[in-house]
Symmetry: C2
Subunit: 228 residues, 2 copies
């Protein structure tokens, strides 16, 4: 009896693959991991679509191993000799291609935590990526229990604040940014513009992410114009 | 009538999502893009699963926009005012998380073409990524029509050859590599070891990819031990 790791994709209950759904239906015990992202449907919508046998499934929004915590569980299960089946799915790491920025040209991904008073890692990741002309994807923290989430606007304010402290001319109000909300859902919003302009824009409900592009190919420039 | 861009995921006909399948079933005309990757099922298996109405679908292995050519089509359609619907799916860019290497820590992705006589870009991308401690994913070219594909072994030989020419101590027989074949399919193979060791290993059928890790976290080291 394998342990199943099943990606749910990015938006609603029907983003699960047919392989994923068939795997869930073989399982008695199904865990849903919903502390690193938010689905655009209710847990009850998932339950309605799934029906039950004799395995354990671990459902993860996006791709099961795009975040670090789940690979740990997978490796521990493997070490104990438990057979694992994995059903991959869409992840924000590749879905950002919808912005027209080339997925190949993204550098390290970084997260901005809600509690970021003394944290400068995201700024350092941006600095490193820019040195190679790579794009930077900032994943924005959320705390569903407390209904707190970081918006694109919060992320821009955070980067401006660190810039003020570090003064290394990595990020300014003029920096071209791409703000994204609810990528992969019907209510998806993508907006390109200067940091200053995006600060005024309301992206609506979570999950948000921010991209700071590196060196742009003319095709990427053309794409961003469509979103500006 | 929107134009649909539908990701097929990484392995067989059942890796399409339920949203994806429902979209295909609304379409009269369905195009399958199969020159940038290979599915582990026949076109007939897809046809059997799909049934037909009055739209156009463009099916792409993996995620529809992880490769550059498809976003171009999407943007051209948008410019012409054609409504586009996108169904994301798993991409190799995030599925590599199964190796235990953190998806966040990958730098730019690069492709090694079959015809690579005077091409050094992949080496330069590796060099840049290593300077930041980032992991490098090499996608390996294939030509399904001519049944040619680049193996992990070919890729290692290519990097050794460029190193011999450039002599910048970026890649050697001792470099730790992770060779992957058919990620996301049941016959998936992942093998970690020195370039020299992996050169002797037979990864079997395509699609292959090669990862050269950057700076490793101890959890990543532990994961790679399981694959060595």
């Amino acid at each position: 009896m394998p342990l199943y790791f099943i990606g749910l994709g990015l938006s609603n209950e029907k983003d699960i693959s047919i392989n994923g759904l068939e795997a869930v239906k073989k399982c008695d015990i199904v865990y849903l991991e919903n502390y690193t992202s938010i689905l655009n449907c209710k847990k009850e919508d998932l339950e309605k679509l799934y029906a039950k046998a004799k395995n354990v499934a671990f459902l993860v929004i996006g791709d099961p191993f795009a975040a670090t915590t789940h690979i740990d569980l997978f490796l521990r299960a493997k070490k104990e000799g438990i057979k694992c089946n994995v059903v991959h799915n869409a992840s924000i790491a590749s879905a950002v291609g919808i912005t027209g920025l080339q997925v190949y040209k993204f550098g390290k991904i970084t997260s901005i935590p809600l509690e970021n008073e003394n944290i400068e890692t995201p700024y350092d990741v941006l600095k490193g990526n820019l040195s190679l002309g790579s794009h930077t994807l900032f994943l924005l923290d959320l705390n569903p229990d407390e209904e707190k989430f970081m918006s694109v606007n919060d992320a821009i304010r955070y980067l401006l604040k660190v810039e003020l402290k570090r003064n290394e001319r990595i990020f300014s109000e003029k920096t071209l940014c791409v703000g994204c909300a609810r990528i992969g859902s019907e209510s998806q919003v993508i907006k390109a513009g200067s940091a200053k302009d995006l600060l005024k824009f309301n992206f609506g409900k979570p999950v948000h992410c921010l991209i700071v592009p590196g060196k742009l190919h003319f095709m990427e420039e053309g794409a961003l114009e469509l979103y500006s």
